[in-house]
């Protein structure tokens, strides 16, 4: 098996994803990838993802906590998570790119078709993740949700937004400044994805219809309601049709008997509010930076925030 060491000798004339060496990293570690052309799947502040044949290499942000990332990658490789989280390619460790960023290697899986979302699989996978026995796993960091909300608020506060959005902005800030929903006591926390959305699901082997959760960057211990909070927020905004939401929630509750009791919204309400405001905060920042009006979808989330603060 190739060793990532040669990467450190690569020249970095211009730090583009193709020159950082992680396509070579992927090709070296996954023999099937050697002859394939690298394809950039995503290049965002949350990471750069490149596919090379059957392998996918992810460069994590400079700010990533490498020790926490290693614990998260090891969790994805643990047999207790087989069939739930997509396991990393061997040796399941965190490599370093020429520019110092942490990199991890994964098998390629096919993404969700937006017109054919496997809602039941989403619910079942999340319930199984949350039911994971923590005993055999090593120590885990907290799940990323609360930190992300704080980050969205900080971004918004540093951004000048259109005065026309002042009421929505003040609603968003009010929601994100409210005391966070009670977090489970240390003993009650479960394994959570920490950043669940529909891009965090792939079919592996590619196209098999056998779904796995991906992206362990925010994986950790927390309140399971947060993993459902993003779809819940889209449902509450009128964006996710009730039938789809109930396919997801029904499958989750079928696989997590007793969760939520008679009214799951008693558990979902707080996290869904924060998630709505978090997405709305990002929408306002996006609108300010692009100079474009918020999309219909963004506007629905902003209006949700207005409805939240209008409650007595």
């Amino acid at each position: 098996m190739a060793h990532p060491a040669p990467l450190t000798t690569m020249r970095l004339d211009r730090p583009g994803p193709d020159q950082l060496g992680f396509d070579q990293l992927a090709a070296g570690l996954a023999p099937s990838a050697a002859a394939a052309e690298p394809v950039v799947l995503a290049d965002r502040p949350t990471g750069t993802v490149i596919r090379v044949g059957d392998a996918v290499a992810k460069a994590h942000p400079e700010t990533a906590d490498v020790e926490a990332l290693a614990a998260r990658v090891a969790t994805a490789a643990h047999p207790a998570l087989a069939g739930i989280l997509l396991p990393p390619l061997p040796p399941a460790t965190v490599a370093r790119l020429a520019d110092g960023r942490a990199a991890t290697l994964w098998p390629y899986g096919t993404p969700v078709d937006p017109d054919d979302v496997p809602w039941e699989a989403v619910g079942t996978l999340l319930a199984r993740l949350h039911a994971t026995d923590l005993g055999p796993l090593g120590p885990l960091p907290p799940a990323g949700w609360p930190a992300r909300a704080a980050e969205a608020l900080a971004r918004l506060r540093a951004t000048e937004t259109d005065p026309a959005h002042a009421p929505a902005r003040s609603a968003v800030e009010r929601i994100l400044c409210a005391p966070p929903p009670p977090f489970p006591a240390p003993g009650a926390a479960v394994l959570c994805h920490g950043d669940f959305h529909l891009g965090q699901l792939v079919s592996h082997p590619a196209g098999s219809g056998s779904w796995r959760l991906i992206d362990v960057d925010e994986l950790g211990l927390g309140d399971p309601a947060w993993d459902l909070a993003r779809p819940a927020a889209w449902f509450a905004a009128g964006l996710l049709p009730p039938a789809d939401w109930h396919r997801l929630l029904g499958a989750y509750r079928a696989a997590a008997p007793g969760w939520g009791g008679a009214d799951p919204w008693a558990l979902l309400d707080g996290p869904a509010r924060v998630m709505t405001a978090q997405a709305a905060a990002r929408a306002l920042v996006r609108a300010a930076e692009s100079g474009r009006s918020p999309s219909d979808e963004d506007e629905a989330l902003l209006i949700s925030c207005l409805r939240i603060v209008a409650l007595p």
Partner: protein, 100 residues
């Protein structure tokens, strides 16, 4: 049929076995008598449909069973400038595919 609120033509479509009229103008929805009950039943069972009961007109502003107090109306008439958000499946979920 014409929208009782804005007079634009209404289109009929079926979702989860429930026949719904939607206004092409304000996007308001019209539910026949029994259809709300039908939807509520679907929601509480998370299961396939039965038959909707017939006639009389809808009474109030139905809200989803099992949603937050601040949730968007998912049924009944809800016009206004943001009524059009409610039922667009396409274009409404793109943010659910990314970190927000």
């Amino acid at each position: 049929m014409q929208c009782p609120k804005c007079r634009a033509p209404m289109h009929t479509f079926t979702r989860s076995g429930v026949q719904i009229e939607q206004c092409s103008g304000c996007r308001g929805l019209f539910l026949d008598y029994g259809e709300l009950e039908h939807i509520t039943q679907l929601e509480s069972q998370w299961a396939p449909q039965q038959h909707a009961a017939p006639p009389p007109p809808p009474a109030g502003q139905p809200y989803p069973a099992g949603g937050p107090a601040w949730g968007a109306p998912h049924g009944g008439h809800h016009g206004g400038h943001h009524g059009h958000h409610g039922h667009h499946r396409r274009g409404g979920l793109s943010g659910l595919f990314f970190s927000s």
